[in-house]
Amino acid sequence: MLLPRIIPCLLLTKDGLVKTENFKNPNYIGDPINTVKIFNEKKADELIILDIHATTQNYEPNYKLIDKLARESKMPICYGGGIKNLDQAKKIFSFGIEKIGLSSIIFSNLKIISEISNYAGSQSTVVVLDIFKENNEYFIFINNGKTKIDENFDNFIVKLQDEGVGEIVVNSINKDGSMSGFDFDLINKIFYLTKIPITVLGGAKDYSDIENVVKKYGSIGIAAGSLFVYKGSRKAVLINYPIKTDKIKIFNNLIKDV
């Protein structure tokens, strides 16, 4: 059977990996290559790696680094950050990155979704949406949570699927770095609006949070930042990931062996 995916999400800057809180206060985590090596050893299902400054500081994706990451990784990677056209995407695919995450660009050029999906297939075309909850309503933001997009959330999710996107990652700005549990209303909303794979990100505090998502929604992607890079209430940097026995428990004993 197809298993749920438990996905560490790593945030890249020019100075290395960081972790944010509500998209602010980036805290240095470590060297990206080394971190990927640790997740190899821990046999993570997949990785999401997002360059959070490429668009806002207007620089090209760090091809040299992405090439090294793809070469080192023994698990699939979704890379996002600073991709504005098909040529850039082609270059990143040529390194062996499986999936490209699009964000800001789709609001000025929605067609880039079908361009990339025609080239690489929809399974490799991912949209990453940063969502802010305000007065019980959900809004899409870009530029690290600074610019609000004037689109109805529900309609836009439908539109993305019509364009041929293969996966949607929803990242809760309110929950980012809070380790206060997932926003289940948001998960529920996105789950019933989609017929494609989805990944939810933002708020995971422990493995039981992940277990609760799996219980309710089955084979979806569950991503987390802080949970997999910090240990303890003082948030000491320590790369971690569920081991086999943890996973069997998370997957609710659906499978004997993972």
Binding site: R5, D45, R71, E98, Q123, S219
Partner: protein, 201 residues
């Protein structure tokens, strides 16, 4: 010597990296001479059927690959869309495939519970024993990422099946031609085992 065909698609470096760690000699195949040097070939792939065939055509690799596989009988392993190019044709495009293994590439039919693309870790069931799956348990998990599957005409060409809605061929073999739908280079230890097995078939 394993030759990983470099045509602009797929995880060639990740595959080569795994072989380096296994201390198995490998080259990235970029020219006629490289094709000659390689004893076995890997055709990787991330992307759509037509992109793959177009890129192979643009590089003038198609005739060379055909001669390596059919005349020189070198073993070839197709990965993901690489495997799909071994079919006659695909629903995903209008280009012709190699037509080496009897079948066509079809899109998964949508039913209510399964979300397309088929993306993530799924298990295999052996249809028969095959040296490519030596030291791989039944029910082992591999990473899949695709919306189209190889619909095999002949049951004896199917090595393993995987369930997604219904069963599909997750690996195939006929004579010196092998195909796997999942990504061994992104499937941790079980994936490395498959790549190792291919090197010593």
């Amino acid at each position: 010597m394993i030759g990983i065909i470099d045509y602009g698609l797929g995880n060639i470096k990740a595959i080569s990296n795994i072989y380096d760690k296994l201390k198995i000699k490998n080259i990235l195949v970029k020219s006629e001479i490289d094709f000659e040097k390689a004893e076995r070939l890997i055709l990787p792939g991330v992307g759509s059927f037509d992109s793959a065939m177009n890129l192979l055509d643009k590089k003038n690799y198609i005739q060379t690959i055909v001669s390596m596989v059919l005349e020189k009988e070198k073993k070839i392993l197709g990965i993901c869309v690489g495997m799909q190019t071994f079919a006659k044709k695909s629903d995903e495009g209008s280009m012709e495939g190699f037509n080496w293994i009897d079948g066509e590439v079809k899109k998964f039919e949508k039913n209510n519970n399964d979300r397309l693309p088929h993306m993530g870790w799924n298990s295999i069931k052996k249809n028969k024993e095959n040296p490519l799956f030596k030291n791989i348990e039944n029910d082992e998990y591999f990473y899949f990422c695709h919306s189209y599957y190889f619909k095999c005409k002949r049951n004896e060409d199917i090595i393993t099946q995987t369930s997604f809605g219904s069963n599909f061929a997750s690996s195939i073999n006929n004579k010196n031609i092998y195909g796997i739908q999942f990504h061994p280079e992104k499937s941790h230890d079980s994936g490395s085992t498959i790549l190792k097995n291919f090197a010593i078939l």
